[in-house]
Amino acid sequence: MSKPLKIIVLLVVVGLYSSISLANSSQADGELQFSAEKLMRFAKRVEKVAADNGARVIIIPRLGRPRSKLPRGFEYTHTGIGVYSLITTESGETVPGYRIHNLYQSNEQSDRSTTVDDFPFDFYAGVYELKTAVLIPKPELQQKLLKLIQSGDHLQLHNANYSAISNPYNTKYQNCNEYVLDIINAAVYGTTDIAKLKQTSETYFDAQPVVVGPLKMMFASIFSPSIKVSDQSEDIITTSYTSIKDYLYKYDLVDKEIIINAQP
């Protein structure tokens, strides 16, 4: 086989392999993986675990795509912040429960995002595993997060320019996990000055490396509008639930983490 042919064969193999492992990225338009009843029970269990522990604020992740599709080192795909709230329903009834604050990728434009508040049932509706964590911050951090979210100032931290692998050390793009990290740091440091918060992240927060081959990354960034690499340096880094958890543990800001696993 000639040298050019070998190179092309290699590219084909890499390209095809990339397409297999990169496919099926979003839960938004897919079929539910579990019945309504199972999802309702699971979501309610999460709420009850958090409430039994007296948590006013929780940090919760979910797995929104098959685990086999996750890059190495990632446990979950999305993170939100739950706040114990008084919820008024359409019928005028008031009930206590958790309201989840999220950044979601836009359904219409995949390189844009919006902030969305939903509830545990909505949050877990499209999951691929009935497994999550309830990360309960220390009471001091819960108080500060409540204060920030109650004021609405956390919305100032939203950057609508979305990249699924956004670099948490700069402000060019933001993903759901980075939004949670920015909210946490804004609460801890009492500022919404994003430049200061990014400096803080670079100093104290260990970002999650994205271990993906350079060719695969190149193809993904060419063909997927939600994958940007212009905010990255040599190594691709981003924010994940795991890296947020490790950060909070490292600086003694976690009360406890409870894993809830209802997988068959």
Binding site: L5, Q27, A51, L86, Q105, D118
Partner: protein
């Protein structure tokens, strides 16, 4: 001599492989709102009796600290709002979901006219 036919076939395969990559992402957060799925669930007969839609939600925390509980809160919930963090909290057995999208809400409004 390089075989042009092989090159063409390989090129087609390569293009096919790369095009497929459009559907995914290396570290996609799969973080879109699952609006359509949830609506479908909420409308299912089995679920509807236990599912209630939210209109407003405010942090349930005591007046005078960092927020204000809605006046709609009953006495028990007012007491809950004043308990220190770490005290077990009540949770409704009902499943709350986000309210209907504007296009659904407007239809409901017309129905009531």
């Amino acid at each position: 001599m390089f075989n042009i036919k092989k090159l063409f076939i390989i090129g087609v395969l390569l293009f096919t492989g790369l095009s497929s990559a459009h559907a995914g992402a290396a570290s996609e957060n799969a973080s879109k709102a699952s609006k359509h799925s949830v609506n479908a669930v909420a409308h299912s007969a089995a679920a509807s009796a236990q599912v209630v839609a939210s209109v407003v939600a405010v942090p349930l925390i005591a007046v005078g600290s960092i927020g204000e509980v809605s006046k709609a809160a009953g006495n028990d919930l007012m007491k809950t709002a004043q308990t220190p963090i770490g005290t077990p909290l009540p949770i409704s057995d009902k499943t709350v979901t986000v309210g209907p999208a504007p296009n659904e809400a407007i239809k409901r409004g017309n129905d009531n006219e």
